[in-house]
């Protein structure tokens, strides 16, 4: 068989995915904990306070990675949704709907940490600034996907509806973002980009460690959720029965 087809066939099979992810999850947790500990140590203790913002700048080490994750997860959901719709791979359907609550949680974390930072710095918890607004709209898009999924009784149909919604949302997300940027901007521009960074290395490194830690957390949480969902969906199937009898034996 063509090796690429073989790969898809293998990774698309629930028992294989269940076993493989079971082996991967502990490593992801270990990596997450180590990187978070190191990143927080650097960010909260080693990195200097900002000369204008003072100690409140340290919220950044949670806020910025969470905001990155909120957008990355929605993008991933759209990609998986596309794969799920085109090739009908069930693992992808499980992944997309397992991602949604994690993405929504990261969006909420970004919004709350942003508000807490905004109070001492901007003097207000909430302003209708472009990034805040588009982050809020992103949260509503997450809620839409989750609500749509929960409204259907049949899980596979629900997942395909959620996939379609995620794709439509992802096409609109940049448009929403640029329209609100154009509408009103108070938020500072990005400090990190392809055209060079305007952030000191002592602050950049903890930020990057935290960003990678959050991605590992996402991986661990996503795979755990996906495993549980697969078990629930397949609870009448052979492989789950075999698995359970094996474990009790």
């Amino acid at each position: 068989m063509n090796p690429i087809y073989l790969f898809f066939h293998k990774t698309g099979s629930p028992p294989w995915f269940y076993n493989f992810s079971g082996k991967l999850i502990p490593w992801l947790w270990v990596g997450f904990l180590l990187l978070t500990a190191y990143g927080l140590y650097l960010g909260l203790l080693v990195a200097p306070a900002d000369y204008q913002q003072g100690e409140s700048v340290r919220i950044m080490y949670i806020h910025v990675p969470a905001a990155w994750m909120s957008m990355m997860i929605y993008g991933l959901m759209a990609i998986w949704g596309f794969i799920a719709l085109v090739w009908r791979i069930r693992i992808m359907e499980v992944l997309i709907i397992s991602s949604a609550p994690i993405g929504a949680a990261f969006t909420i974390i970004a919004l709350i940490t942003g508000s807490l930072w905004g109070r001492p710095t901007w003097g207000t918890y909430w302003v209708w600034d472009a990034r805040l607004t588009s982050e809020l709209v992103l949260l509503f898009l997450y809620f839409g996907v989750i609500a749509l999924y929960n409204s259907y009784d049949e899980p596979r149909k629900a997942a395909r509806a959620a996939s379609l919604m995620a794709i439509v949302g992802a096409i609109n997300l940049p448009i929403i973002h640029f329209s609100v940027v154009w509408w009103n901007t108070l938020h500072q521009g990005s400090s990190i980009g392809t055209s060079g960074n305007s952030i000191h290395p002592s602050m950049l490194w903890p930020l990057l460690y935290m960003a990678i830690a959050f991605k590992l957390y996402y991986g661990a949480n996503l795979l755990s959720r996906a495993r549980l969902r697969l078990l629930k969906q397949d609870h009448r199937k052979r492989w789950v029965k075999d698995l359970l009898t094996e474990e009790t034996r």
Binding site: G144, S151, Y152, A161
Partner: protein, 227 residues
């Protein structure tokens, strides 16, 4: 399927939808009455000061238009879904995207166009300065088809659900954000004597993009709802 047959199917669908709309006149009026009521509530809520009303007029009229459109979207595919017409349309062999587009065009003509026609009355109520009136009408004329096109995706996704209406609004309102921003900014700019063609241009781009893309998403959603 030949081009001619597709064109005939498109026109036949439009004709059928108009006939159905004509026979359900009272149902069609509901979103429009709703529009009038919502706009009436604003002066009652924020006070009748003409200056204040003129300031918020573009936003209020546009938000009322969004609400009225979403209200009418819930029934977009519902009756066809419930009596099995939608299944027959899928089985007809015609492109489902074309069918979705015909349905959306009909929806705009009976639900969107009346909003455009009512807008001078709303502008008068909200004390919108004369310089903004024409731009308001233009923005609604460009924008309400986009509302129908994007809303049709949501309508198709929720058609098989028992209580799709609330979910529909949650799904489509976030997608309407850019349109609302551009339209209200165009009207406000026109009132302030600033250039507004950029905003209208972007809205037209949105119209073209959604006209070419949205029917395919709607078709996929319809297929999903029928599966």
């Amino acid at each position: 399927m030949s081009k001619q047959a597709s064109g005939t199917a498109f026109m036949a669908l439009l004709r059928r939808d108009f006939l159905l709309a004509y026979r359900r006149r009272a149902e069609l009026l509901q979103p429009l009455v709703f529009l009038l009521v919502v706009v009436t509530l604003f002066p009652l809520g924020v006070g009748p000061s003409p200056d204040l009303l003129a300031n918020i007029a573009p936003g209020v009229i546009w938000i009322a238009a969004l609400l009225a459109t979403v209200l009418s979207l819930d029934s977009l595919f519902r009756s066809d879904f419930e009596d099995g017409t939608l299944e027959q349309m899928v089985l007809s062999g015609q492109s489902l995207a074309l069918i979705a587009l015909a349905r959306t065009v009909a929806h705009w003509l009976v639900a969107g166009l009346p909003i455009v026609l009512l807008s001078p009355l709303l502008a008068m109520w909200m004390n919108l300065p004369d310089e903004g009136l024409l731009i308001l009408i233009e923005s609604l004329a460009i924008g309400t088809p986009v509302l129908s096109l994007i809303g049709a995706i949501g309508g198709a996704l929720t058609v098989s659900l028992k209580r799709g209406g609330q979910l529909l609004s949650l799904l489509v309102f976030p997608l309407y954000v850019p349109l609302l921003i551009l339209a209200t900014s165009a009207v406000s700019s026109a009132v302030a004597g600033l250039p507004y063609t950029g905003q209208l241009g972007l809205m037209t781009a949105g119209l073209i993009a959604s006209m070419t893309l949205a029917p395919f998403a709607t078709a996929a959603a319809l297929k999903l709802s029928l599966s």
